[in-house]
């Protein structure tokens, strides 16, 4: 959805004004993010409710590998920095740096997702499957949704780099980069919450 939201630039008001002086796309993106708060809120609440309910399989505090997750959290946090540098390069019309930072952001994101895949497989080996317990189901659902969001972000970043190379980005390039940046940072702040509530606070 985010993809469609950002790639779309309205033209109906062409030559007309915009009542608030703000860009339609950016307003739309912020609203989408506001709405996503309710989505992740629901998933986090479900996890909070169910994290202690372990009929079989490992307990949360037994299975989490805090040092490992700390590193991948750090990676995602730093990808926010590279993203904001890409946005700032785009606003300066510094295309070379923009591309560079976008690619680095995507790579950091991919590292995070790779870490998550590794984490999931090792949890699975230790006996925590999707259906093992309510803790397992809600944990995989929450972090899985987050992982999907990161992956969608990576696809958007790569698409952005590719389309930029062929000069196929419709509309204002700096704005498109900024919008994808907003999405990316949002995914990062969701992880800030998940990292604390899920990993650091034991059940």
């Amino acid at each position: 959805m985010a993809e469609t939201a950002i790639s779309h630039d309205h033209d109906a008001s062409h030559g007309a004004h915009s009542s608030t002086g703000l860009s339609n796309n950016k307003l739309g993106m912020w609203m989408f993010l506001g709405s996503e708060c309710l989505l992740f809120g629901g998933l986090i609440s479900t996890y909070m409710l169910y994290k202690g309910r372990v009929n079989s399989g490992p307990q949360p505090n037994k299975i989490f590998d805090i040092p490992f997750t700390s590193v991948s959290s750090f990676v995602l946090l730093m990808s926010s920095l590279t993203m904001v540098l890409a946005v700032s390069a785009a606003q300066r019309k510094d295309e070379r740096n923009m591309n560079l930072w976008l690619i680095i952001t995507a790579l950091l994101g991919a590292t995070f997702v790779g870490g998550q895949v590794y984490e999931f497989t090792s949890f699975y080996r230790e006996g925590l499957g999707f259906t093992t317990s309510l803790f397992g189901s809600s944990f995989y659902t929450l972090t899985g949704f987050h992982g999907v969001h990161v992956s969608v972000g990576i696809i958007m970043l790569m698409a952005l780099v590719g389309m930029n190379r062929n000069n196929r980005i419709p509309g204002d390039r700096a704005e498109v980069v900024e919008l994808i940046g907003l999405y990316w940072h949002f995914v990062d702040i969701v992880w800030i919450v998940i990292f604390t509530l899920v990993y650091l606070i034991p059940s």
């Binding site: 939201a5 033209d11 008001s13 608030t20 609203m31 309710l38 189901s137």
Partner: protein, 671 residues
Amino acid sequence: MTIIERPTTEVAVAGGAPSGVKPSEALGVFKRPAASTSWRDWIVTVDHKKLGIMYGVSAFFFFLIGGVEALLIRLQLIAPNGKVLNADQYNQMFTMHATTMVFLFVMPMAAAFANYFVPLQIGARDVAFPRINAFGFWCFLFGGLFLNSSWFLGGGADGGWFMYAPNSSTLFSPSHGIDFWTVGLQITGIASLTGAINLIVTILNMRTKGMKMMRMPIFTWMVLVTQFLLLFAIPVITVALFLLTFQRSFGATFFDVASGADPLLWQHLFWIFGHPEVYIMILPSFGIVSEVIPVFSKKPLFGYPIVAMSGAAIGFVGWGVWAHHMFASGLGPVSVAVFSMSTMAIAVPTGVKIVNWVMTMWGGKLTFTIPMMFAIALIVQFTIGGLSGVTHAVAPADTQQTDTYYIVAHFHYVLFGGAVFGLFSGFYYWWPKMFRRQLNNAIGKWNFWLMVIGMNLTFGPMHILGLQGQPRRMQVWTEARAGEGFFNLGFWNRIASIGSFTLGTGVLLFLVNVVYTHKSKKVAIAPLDPWDARSLEWMTQSPPQEHNFDVLPTVSHLDEFFHRKYETDSSTHGVTQVRSAEEVMAELNAHPDEHIHMPSRSYWPILLASSLPVIGYGVIYNRTLMAVGAGLILLTMFGWAMEPSTSPDDDFDPPAPGEGGGHTKELSPLG
């Protein structure tokens, strides 16, 4: 399909505009579709008015399906030990009836009006994201068809429209009905979410000059509130539906008590969405009657800012009352007390609105046209439903009423007597704007009275049935337990069933009216301003040309159109008409805007939306198909992203000055 065929102006526009619209081959995979008058244009259109009409036609189609389901239910209950449906079919019938009416009729019908009239009411040429608008419509349609395809693939959902655990588990509902339900609603949810973002941005950002927030028509205000509710409520049901899908298709146990889960989790998530949802259904209708009542009372709306703000207040407080649906579930005394009080509080802003409508009519010059009659019926019927709603807010009384027909009576009074009557008021009020013909008055009266009498006969007795203890969702009642005398269940059940067929006849008369209006040679073309209306959507031709306004008006008043037609006499404080609607139009369109860019047609919205049901069938039947669907989504998204929203050679210019505002000229014989 007379409903969706737009009369002659379509030709005029097709002759004027699309000469500039050429498929641009340089960008995108497909040739860009060009404008045409054939049915294909409806598939690729991004015009908010065409999409509004398509929303309307599809929603009405689902309304008829839901209506047939309702009639089957009433047929089953007309006599003791009904044999029309077996228990399983009965479960599917009431589940799908409610789901269809809520998600596939009332919501999209409100979206139809919002799509068509919000841009016109705020003086915009289209919505903020026209392609996303088209995408939303196709998601709704495909989601609805997907949901209903379950009838042919093993039966519909059968867990009741709020799908409580454990009935929603595969153990109690082994057919695929509920899987179709979860995925189908997920797809229509995408429609609602994208529509919400689209309309909010449109209202915030695309108002014409001088159209301040507090000058917007109340309908637009109510749509704004509704869309904010959708924006924040849809993700909650999305979570709930995902959890249920994971439970049914992937072996999770989110709602399975045996595995230590709490079934109340579903109830909470559902009603956190579900209660804002009831305001999502009613507020657009409130908006419609707030337009209709002032027009036919010849008075401005009483307390405009209060009506707007009470709508916002309803939207806000609507988030804090969800657990009143769960008083009987053992929430604990503190929760029950808190939610009981907040529920009583929400009656206040609703009551404020009713007072405002009545005060608008007070002392006005009332004309009882069909839209006005429906609007007044809404006030009366909704008040009855609202009062029985207050009795639910009292938790001890509610424990008596829970899951009886009393509840059914209550929500049909507010939803049918409220939301649906409002929508019908809108049909009659705006029909001449959309199709240039007025619906027949005589048939309209029959339509109205049969619906009002039918609805009271159907749902009125349900209060008695409910208080006598007839539970909802029971497929039979028996003579032995029917009771005696005035409170005999059999008597009232028969009345309700007869009422439902009266109601059905009333609805059919509406269709008759539509066909008559568009087929009969006798029906004259409606005048430009048949109701002496007050708001901006009447300040353009009927139906509006693709770009809505030749000149975007500059607004200086609430009820701008009225103020251009009338002037206040300062000595007598009376108003006198100084200009006719045609004169207002001619004045406005003296110098038509040039180089109007309208968004170009596109294949991508329908293509992207059509890949969603593929994933849906994949979830239910085959994981490979899921991957195919995901691939399709990715591909179509790339196609979409690469296509500029306006092809460069798409430009509309008004006819040369010599031909002088072709539109106004064309209109003059109508006046």
